[in-house]
């Protein structure tokens, strides 16, 4: 269905002010015309009738499917969406929810009870859109029936007095009346009217035309398509999943639950269904602007990926970048972030190798000053811990202390504090790898009693006080944050919106209208009257009436002779 009926679009036609049909009048005429107005919604009765259950439910149903209720529900939907943009949402940013709750311990239970941390899954939000959908269906079915009837009805007969319609012209033509009538039929047909020329009165007669039937079809399509969108959205949410994982460059990832850092499955998603692909990040490349006012902004970053769709499948390569995801059967892989993973070696007080490898540091700001911790539970005689910053381009000032001057690794430095004691790993409680539980740890002190700082550039080693061990900054890797997700039925949602848009265009820009021509013989002359009626507000009907009249042989009217209806 395309809205290409020759009616022109809203923006496509010139019209002088004051020539559109008065809307109020339109409606009155509409309602009094038989078979008219599929667009007039059912009006709810003023007050509920007696309490008989059947009547009550019918009344309730009519209320629910009334235009006014739809309007109120639309408002409520808009309003209900607001809190989700103000209160942090669990599905969007779980950490922010935690931080918010720490800051507002009093409000948290209330907010929790109201579902304010997951507004879009909350009962009340769902209730509003489900009611709206029920209302759409309730609206849709009767309108479909009316539309079907209207489609097959003949154009309504001409009103008795054509000159009382908003736009009309009357003029005389040469030639006999039947010829003028025949011509009227042709003209209206050529303008895509559905034509009915039933009443023949003596020599003359009436021709009735109607067009723009697709407007209501467009409107129905639009509302039906909304249901499709909702269905697609629901399936995507229920059966989809989204997970995030940080992979250090040079390492790999295989798509199973245990590998994810965070994982949010839809409530119907079965973890067994995770597509069995695996991949290796061979290389990661990022370029920052070196100079100019925007220096430090990344211009490009991409990861060189080797992957197999399933174990044993042929190995392929992909250049993973922002806006260039890796699309696999059952999951798409996106590059959503990156950062640094300094490689360190920690030796304990007994000289043994206690830890060696890359440690993921999380960027804190656009300079990529990154925060991270190193936990060394195996160190003897006591476990060791480090907490602090990685600075890709080291800088220092008295006010700020150590900072990063540039996001690229031009002069990388680790700047940390060191601790010893119980890391708290044995309590059984889950512990973040990005936090050091310092409750039972003791900070190393420098000779002057101040904090002992580990400030080491690439390649340097620092001995801890009291011969407790040493830490070496061996090298630097980068990591990438991958997001893996699968949203089934996204084509349904997309198709739904596209259909809705097509329907909308038809609904907004197709102009249903009626036109009548009446031919009468009077005193041996042929009198022609042309009149039109817009069935939607704000048409360019005057021009159309003039056009029809012109093709039937009337002179072009002077602008000010035209019948004006301000």
């Amino acid at each position: 269905m395309t809205p290409t009926t020759n009616t022109g679009t809203e923006t496509g036609s010139a019209k002088p002010p004051g020539t559109g049909a008065g809307e109020g009048r339109d409606e009155v005429v509409l309602d009094s015309t038989p078979g008219a107005s599929a667009t007039t919604p059912p009006t709810p009765p003023a007050a509920p009738p007696g309490l008989r259950p059947v009547e009550l439910s019918r009344w309730a149903w009519r209320q629910l499917t009334s235009m006014r209720t739809a309007l109120v529900l639309l408002f409520l939907l808009a309003l209900a969406a607001v809190p989700g943009s103000v209160v942090p949402q669990r599905d969007v940013d779980a950490l922010a929810v935690g931080q918010w709750q720490d800051r507002h311990p009093a409000l948290t239970p209330l907010y929790e009870a109201l579902g304010l941390f997951s507004v879009y899954e909350s009962v009340w939000f769902s209730a509003i859109y489900l009611l709206l959908m029920v209302s759409v269906v309730g609206c849709f079915v009767p309108r479909l029936r009316i539309y079907w009837r209207g489609m097959r009805a003949r154009p309504p007969r001409a009103p008795r007095n054509l000159s009382r319609l908003p736009h009309s012209r009357s003029f005389e033509v040469d030639g006999p009346a039947p010829e003028a009538l025949e011509r009227s039929v042709q003209v209206l047909r050529s303008k895509r009217y559905r034509v009915d020329s039933a009443d023949r009165l003596g020599d003359g007669g009436d021709v009735a035309g109607e067009r723009g039937y697709l407007r209501e079809a467009g409107n129905l399509l639009f509302h039906a398509a909304l249901l499709l969108v909702l269905a697609g959205f629901a399936v995507g949410n229920l059966y989809g999943y989204k997970g995030g994982v940080i992979v250090v460059s040079g390492q790999g990832f295989s798509n199973s639950l245990s590998q994810y850092d965070d994982f949010a499955p839809g409530s119907m998603f079965d973890v067994e269904d995770l597509a069995p692909f695996n991949l290796d990040i061979d290389d990661f490349d990022v370029q920052f602007l070196r100079e100019g006012p925007q220096a430090g902004m990344p211009v490009d970053f991409s990861a060189d990926v080797r992957y197999r769709e399933r174990p044993g499948a042929p190995e392929r390569r992909h250049d993973l970048a922002v806006n260039h995801p890796l699309s696999l059967d059952g999951g798409n892989v996106f590059l959503v972030g990156h950062g640094y993973a300094p490689r360190v070696t920690v030796r304990d007080g007994e000289g043994h190798l206690a830890y060696r490898g890359p440690v993921i540091f999380l960027p804190q700001d656009s300079t990529f000053a990154s925060f991270g911790v190193i936990k060394v539970p195996d160190a003897m005689p006591e476990p060791l811990g480090f907490e602090g910053l990685f600075l890709p381009t080291y800088g220092f000032s008295m006010e700020t202390g150590p900072v990063s001057r540039f996001p690229d690794a031009l002069d990388p430095v680790l700047s940390m504090l060191a601790y010893r004691g119980d890391l708290g790993l044995d309590t059984g409680a889950a512990q973040s790898v990005y936090e050091l539980d310092k409750a039972k740890m003791e900070k190393f002190r420098a000779g002057d009693g101040g904090d002992f700082r580990v400030d080491i550039a690439l390649g340097q080693t620092k001995q801890l006080p009291d011969g407790a061990g040493s830490i070496t900054f061996d090298g630097l890797d980068r990591w990438v944050k991958l997001q893996v997700s699968d949203t089934p039925a996204k084509w349904l949602a997309l198709g739904g919106v596209v259909l809705a848009l097509v329907g909308l265009l038809g609904s907004l820009f197709i102009r249903p209208r009626r036109a009548w021509v009446r031919v009468t013989r009077r005193d041996g002359r042929t009198l022609v009257e042309v009149a039109g009626l817009d069935r939607t507000p704000g048409g360019d009907l005057a021009e159309e009436v003039d056009d029809i009249a012109g093709e039937l042989g009337a002179r072009r009217p002077e602008a000010d002779e035209r019948k004006m209806h301000p």
């Binding site: 809203e10 010139a14 002088p16 002010p17 004051g18 409606e27 667009t39 919604p41 235009m67 006014r68 309007l71 939907l77 808009a78 969406a81 607001v82 943009s85 599905d91 969007v92 940013d93 950490l95 922010a96 935690g98 959205f233 995507g236 850092d261 100019g292 006012p293 902004m297 970053f301 922002v322 806006n323 260039h324 798409n332 996106f334 959503v336 972030g337 950062g339 999380l362 960027p363 700001d365 656009s366 889950a430 973040s432 790898v433 944050k481 997001q483 893996v484 997700s485 949203t487 996204k490 949602a493 997309l494 919106v497 809705a500 848009l501 265009l505 907004l508 507000p537 704000g538 301000p566």
Partner: protein, 352 residues
Amino acid sequence: MTAQDFAALSNTAIAFAGVVYVLAFLSHLVEMTFGRRVPTAADRRVHAGEGTAHEQSERPGSVATLPPTTTGAEVAAVRTETFARIGVALTVVAALLHALALVTRGLGAEPARVPWGNMYEFSVAGTFGVTALYLLLLRRYRLRWLGPVVTGFDVVVLMLAVLLLYEDAGPLVPALNSYWLVIHVVAAIIATGAFTVGGMASLLFLLKQRAVAREQQGRVRGTGYVARLPEPAVLDRVAYRMHAFGFPIWTFAALIAGPIWAEYAWGRYWGWDPKEVWAFITWVAYAAYLHARATAGWRGRSAAIIALVALATLLFNFIGINFFFGDSSQHSYAAELIVEHPPEDRAYSGFG
């Protein structure tokens, strides 16, 4: 010319465009003061049908050859006409400079790109959208009464953009580097322009309706700008047209192009991010407006108010979200980092 030259030219052009918009606005102000009389029924016809006055002044030397019976009203009508035309002509000049500023802004970045990558550029592009729409539809819908509002709006927004939002030209952050940026944002800008012009018409409709009501009660006789506006029905119709034009484009921008791009960039087509939430709210609000126009008891005043509320949600999405929610929205133009530092990065807990 080097990129820096283009960027400098862009800044100069926007400054000149601002000055010319001010002149256009002043010209429309003068036009309004000439019209600052109670229009009688007779001369209301003269300007209501603009056509009449229009044709008069198109006759060469019309001012000099006015017949001796010329009334004060007619002289005023001709003067009004002259200043109105100057106002429109200046607006055209300003819009050309404005367009130049946009093009050179794009060329001023290395590599050249579309000129809407941050809030400053979005403001400049958005005001251009409003102005271009106004000029394109000026004749067709006889929108000259919008002149003072559009030019005044341009002056204020451009001034705020230059003073508060200015950023030097530079390349796009990688997340914005996609042709969906072009499609999505162009659609959003056009829709925003249409909604803004529609909102202006709705606002004027409310003012005019009130003035007409007062006049009918015989309390106040209208003078000045509002008295010279077209009938409420005309204003309402223009408002509807603009909204009806904007709504499908907004649907496309916010509910088709946006999600497709989000799917490419972030792997989810809809994530209830604040920016998306407010785009959705705007969409629902305009759907409510269209419904209100078809609902008895809601058309007219209530519908116009809904349109203004909807416009407020649109502007809030642009201004409010960027400033108040800067770091929690992936869409924020104001935050320097878009993908480099997504919120999830801070969200590791548990399993690691």
